[in-house]
Assembly symmetry: C2
Homo-oligomer: 452 residues x 2
């Protein structure tokens, strides 16, 4: 089966970071060459995709030259040494303007890097620029920000999904081989799925959020977007500041397919396509589990209460002093968010704890759970309704419907590219037990899902 | 100086639990005699004071007979063995109706004891009955409950203060030598001060709240009301499930007198009276500290937000389904409490953490802080305004003004009887560093404050 390619293809399309790193070590490539390839790809593709909102060739190439100089001295800082990486624009970088996607921070220069960016620099990565985020990461479509909409590499009329919109478009199109994103309700996995990349949301708090602009402190996660699970793992290890353990056990996997429709309507063709992909991937280990459907409404409601109260708390002064500077849709969400009551927030915290415990019980019977990452393919930029089967549903609710439960419960979840439906990428989501990030990544590295 | 006595005096007035326990051990007293003395005092005094809302002579005497039987077998369960103790009616007891002061729970019988009551029984204490609580402990006056108002033993026209209204009246009048109360904004210290008893609010979470009806989970404390600090410590040790350490160090004390007026207006005569009491108690160790006044408003606002959101969360269903069953003033407070926003609650939690840290800094320079417990003497039952100096102020705000900061910051604080002003008792509040309950109690046992 041939791999369909997006309309917009850059140097790093489908490339492996591990192979690139070998080339650097062997001397067949230089860090400056890779960075220049990224800059050239960005220059060529970005006008139609709007993935990057800030690039500075001089800053990037200076980092690359330093990386080359270290290699020439025999100093290799690790597998990301000299690899171009893009950073979502809600993550602080001292050397690139960081706008958080908002007019409130137009031209803002943080005084220091986020901790995850510090770690990337210490690992020798070359930060080539900042990628578009939905304003303050408060939206799953990636089409509302100070810099407008990011565009899907497979069809530039369509959304990337968000909020890590630019990071997914940049990796999926091959402008860079790796990018950092953030995920509060699905913001790494949604654009990864809609653009055809790997997106990994680690366990809650396993990657530090220091220097990342908060959306909702009890739900925010930082994680990688990549072409390959191996590469996502490399980036994860660096930003988490730890090395993944290798599970040498060989007991058979128990995998639960979350009964179709459990978290809301799913496009029928996409559903069948992904179920077959899951069957190929897990064979007889795959069994259906209907236990999540009864929890779905509570999970969504609880997440919404936590997210709203926490998001408004972050923006209360801006909403009081300069509400007009927010993009209209984001401002409307914040106006709603202001209304959450304190007692409802307290209830939601208790409910979150209860639901985490319920999930711990379910993971006594399963090693992994599987579902679509997103129940639809990418919709048109600015569209807010989509027909699924016989229903018109809200695009924003739809794209979040299968991902947000794993922010609420803090479980590691990865979206894997699983081919295309009607010419657009779709993603398979695989969820692990609490803290079992390493096992999830290891299992996913061993299974091919690139077939469609 | 002679000790003024309240109008209503029972058997245990001014008595020492330690002396009573010695009498039991020596055989000069029996547990049944003590319990009967409590029942007789209650029968005589309670019609005018309304301190007890539930007494069951048969239940109490059965416990006392059992305690005597154990002593006869040579089994002494500790210093509270055979001592009559009263329990505030927001603390569960399996053998007494527990109403939480509310029509919502008229006739309610919990299936089991609160953990602190279990510990009291294991220590051999005789539970003689339940004492009046302001409805759901949500009020500092002690005059609004299913059972009406508790009355001050020094002047039955006046409030006891609350919410541990009945516990303070029962101890101060000598119906019992010891009682348990709860304190969310001052509810042990306020009635102790206004009735002339010792009231101790331990460090947050040092006494378990399991089985205590919640008012505000981040501010609720359980603690003793007694005639003497030694007795309060005995009760504290039992309910905390630990023995206080004795500090054998002898470095000089550093005591801060909280500049008069820091937390709001204070009756001038009361202020001078208490300052002199503090001077007598601490001599040259006493120095003034003005550092709290600038924090006072933030402390009150923060406590109010936490308390309101948490209180409404507890009562949301009752407010929706049967609001008429709440006493009107409590219902009005809950209606206000419903309006606290989630984002404000989150801010308040962060502010609480900040203020705890500020207090930790202040306690690097002081071992103890001292202030009036309550800035006024007991007002008339149902009065809601009081003149202090030239100002008319809200009684509820006034009585809470000097105590609630130590609920917010979780610090141990004790109210000590310090004589009378215009014939009514006043209390001196002494506050310790976080977790320094043992030192606070030890120092207070060594200093006399019973002089007026």
């Amino acid at each position: 089966m041939s791999l369909a390619k997006p309309d917009h293809v850059g140097y790093f399309f489908g490339q492996s970071v591990i192979a690139l790193a070998e080339g650097l070590r062997a001397g067949s490539l230089t860090c400056v060459e890779l960075t220049q390839a990224a800059l050239d790809s960005i220059e060529r593709l970005n006008p139609s995709l709007n993935a990057f909102v800030q690039v500075d060739a001089a800053v990037a190439l200076a980092q690359a030259r330093k990386a080359d100089a270290l290699l020439a001295q025999g100093l290799n800082l690790g597998p990301l040494h000299g690899i171009p990486v893009a950073i979502k624009d809600n993550i602080d970088t001292f050397d690139y303007v960081t706008t958080y996607g908002s007019a409130h921070f137009a031209g803002y220069r943080p005084s220091e890097d986020a901790l995850c960016v510090q770690r990337l620099r210490e690992a020798g990565a070359v930060i080539v620029g900042k990628t578009l985020t939905h304003e303050f990461a408060y939206g799953p479509t990636g089409d509302r920000s100070l810099q407008g909409a990011a565009r899907n590499p497979w069809d530039a009329r369509c959304i990337t999904g968000g909020s890590s919109a630019g990071s997914a478009a940049a990796v999926a199109s091959g402008m860079v081989p790796l990018a950092l994103g953030t995920d509060t309700g699905g913001s790494i996995r949604i654009p990864a799925a809609l653009c055809g990349a790997v997106g990994f949301k680690p366990s809650f708090a396993s990657v530090p959020v220091q220097g990342v602009f908060p959306l909702s402190s009890s739900l925010d996660h930082v994680g990688p977007i990549a072409n390959h699970v191996e590469d996502a793992r490399l980036l994860y290890e660096v930003v988490a500041g730890r090395t993944c353990a290798t599970d040498t056990g060989s007991r058979p996997l128990r995998v639960g397919w979350i009964t179709s429709g459990s978290f809301g309507p799913v496009d029928a063709e996409l559903d069948q396509h992904l179920y077959r992909a899951a069957q190929r991937m897990f064979g007889e280990a795959l069994q259906e589990t209907a236990e999540l459907a009864p929890l779905a409404a509570a999970m969504k409601d609880t997440l919404l209460v936590l997210q709203r109260a926490e998001a408004y708390e972050v923006h209360a002064e801006r909403m009081q002093q300069a509400p007009h500077k927010f993009e209209q849709e984001v401002r409307e969400r914040l106006e709603l968010s202001r209304e959450v009551r304190g007692w409802q927030y307290i209830r939601a915290q208790a409910e979150q704890a209860r639901l985490k415990a319920v999930m711990a019980g379910l993971f006594e019977r399963f090693d992994l759970l599987v579902s679509p990452s997103v129940p639809i393919t990418a919709t048109a930029v600015d569209a807010r309704e989509v027909r699924v089967g016989a229903q018109d549903i809200d695009v924003r609710a739809a794209v979040l419907s299968y991902t947000s439960a794993w922010n609420l419960t803090g479980l590691p979840a990865i979206s894997l590219p699983a081919g295309q439906v009607r010419g657009m990428p779709v993603g398979l989501q695989v969820i692990g037990a609490a803290g079992a990030d390493d096992r999830l990544l290891q299992v996913m590295m061993q299974r091919s899902v690139r077939s469609s």
